[in-house]
Symmetry: C2
Subunit: 374 residues, 2 copies
Amino acid sequence: MKKESAKHVLLVGNTDTFPSIEYASKFRAPDPVVFLKSGIANYLVVPQMEFGRASRTGMPVQVFTPETLGLQGVGKGKIRKWVFYLLKRLKIKTVTVPYLFPHGIARYLEKRGINVSVATKELFPERAVKTQDELRKIRESQQAAVIAMRAAITLITDSEIDNAGCLRYRGRIITSEYVRKLIARILFEHNCMTKDTIVAWGPQAADPHENGSGILRAGETIVIDIFPRNMTHGYWGDLTRTVVKGSASSFMKRVYHAVKAAQTIALNHVKAGVNCSTVHRAVVEEFNRRGLSSSILDGKGTGFIHSTGHGVGLSIHEAPSISTAEGRLKSGNVITIEPGLYYPGIGGVRIEDTIVVTQTGWRYLVPCEKKFEV
Amino acid sequence: MKKESAKHVLLVGNTDTFPSIEYASKFRAPDPVVFLKSGIANYLVVPQMEFGRASRTGMPVQVFTPETLGLQGVGKGKIRKWVFYLLKRLKIKTVTVPYLFPHGIARYLEKRGINVSVATKELFPERAVKTQDELRKIRESQQAAVIAMRAAITLITDSEIDNAGCLRYRGRIITSEYVRKLIARILFEHNCMTKDTIVAWGPQAADPHENGSGILRAGETIVIDIFPRNMTHGYWGDLTRTVVKGSASSFMKRVYHAVKAAQTIALNHVKAGVNCSTVHRAVVEEFNRRGLSSSILDGKGTGFIHSTGHGVGLSIHEAPSISTAEGRLKSGNVITIEPGLYYPGIGGVRIEDTIVVTQTGWRYLVPCEKKFEV
């Protein structure tokens, strides 16, 4: 069977929504632009004000503006016209677009005789296999995450428990917000930014994406999830640890050990050629084996309620997905392995590392120790 | 003529791509979710792991998960199925979607008998008219921008010019990167983050979005554009000033005075009911009158090569657009007025303030002084 291959790949948007544009052109666009990959040729259409910047990326990309495509007057502000004029200029009648391509533009093009076909597979599969340069960049962000994590856990470790069970450091009450600020400050010093760092304790941690708030308390699980993005090159890192100040309940101890064991088992499966779903299934089976199966009570998920991991790069969540979805690991994939267990009203545990897949297994990008009771 | 009114408005994406989801539901989604506004009822479909968080926003939104919609197995991870199951559950056959709606999902729905119509106007026009609470939030970010701007300009003012024409502060060479870091640090202390702050000098400043790099030099225009986003509530601010250390060339003096005059003239036009394009045209005419018209040389734009301004809110660029596009200003709009002139090989000047439109004119959100030679 002949392999399907997209001849003319069209993307329209800013580079936060479509990082593939930045990946392929090295142009970071805060506002929407048009990107076309036609065989080995690449084209950008950018607003007049971006022409200089787009022309200096050092990549073999031909840069147009609405004006150089012949657009005049009010219409030159409409990006759907940029697309149509570009395709007309290049005599292209059929384009392949990603699933997330703007529907309004697709419909506009179709009305003008352009055949718009939605890609059924990744249009830039090369993004999932990182170059040495990309590994260095992700490692830089991951390093910042590790340093921030150590500072946060050291603060909790060095805190004392007051009579009310609250954490105090040198007399000062310690809140989620305080720890989050400490983390943000360290990431900032490492030229990274972060939004929505998670420092969630007790029942808050039962929601995997709850940011967390209020005074940290002894005996409760504290989930710390740090995902910095380098402000210069835009690559992410991702790291989660769970700690308890003082003693955890025997149930949460059991949960922690299950998550840690499941992570190890998942990691033992990781190497090039392995099915992503095999890795995910190993986690599910380990939890089941330990009597910690997932279920839904009153609409709330209990147990393992997310996937095992995701790719990390110019997007915080990108291919490959380590879940029930199909796909095989490749050498050079950068992925997270992050099993977790969540119990509404009680708490949650998640342990996450970001690793690079190799022919024979995997490597940490930056290792970070794991400790539960601190 | 009866006014077109969308009965069932459908959005699919994360809240960075579709801030209207956060606007309408108060739910901030790092990963794609489904949002449906059906008359006065609002619905969200979120992954199981987000159910708790989405249920606690305090807004009248009914929250589903793939599981509560009856999805099982591999399919429950596919967001197009979430949409289809939600519409089936609510017996909805026709939806209105925004221009940027994912084409792959639109096509999937159409194949299943759903009528997908692309909105021809803003689906959440109320977003452009800010509430008192929103004004307070934008003011908070704008205040951070003003404080950071003052610190940056004070640093340049207090610097000395060395024999090579470079700026030094207490002996230390001052670079774009250094000033950008100073700005980022201050924004961070005000709970704001920023990406791509502009500190561009000399010919760099001829590209409006060039970040800038290297040692700042006397006699060159330095464009400083600061747009912080509050990390808690997500609203933006936006502020630009242009300064020269020492003396500017007589041409750049003329350019600066033209930009400053054009901004004043534009502001004099601003009040509720005025056409946005009238404000923009006033800027173009003022530049023409002063013999500083725009043109394109070798593909590079010269003169006034962008629009006069844009709305600011949960997005840094949102409605209304102060450009050649149609539309009238409304009381409560928050907009930038930011004329600029750009000369490749020479430099650029931009002056930008963020203001709120009133019935009788406008108010600064936070005023910030303007000075050219420092």
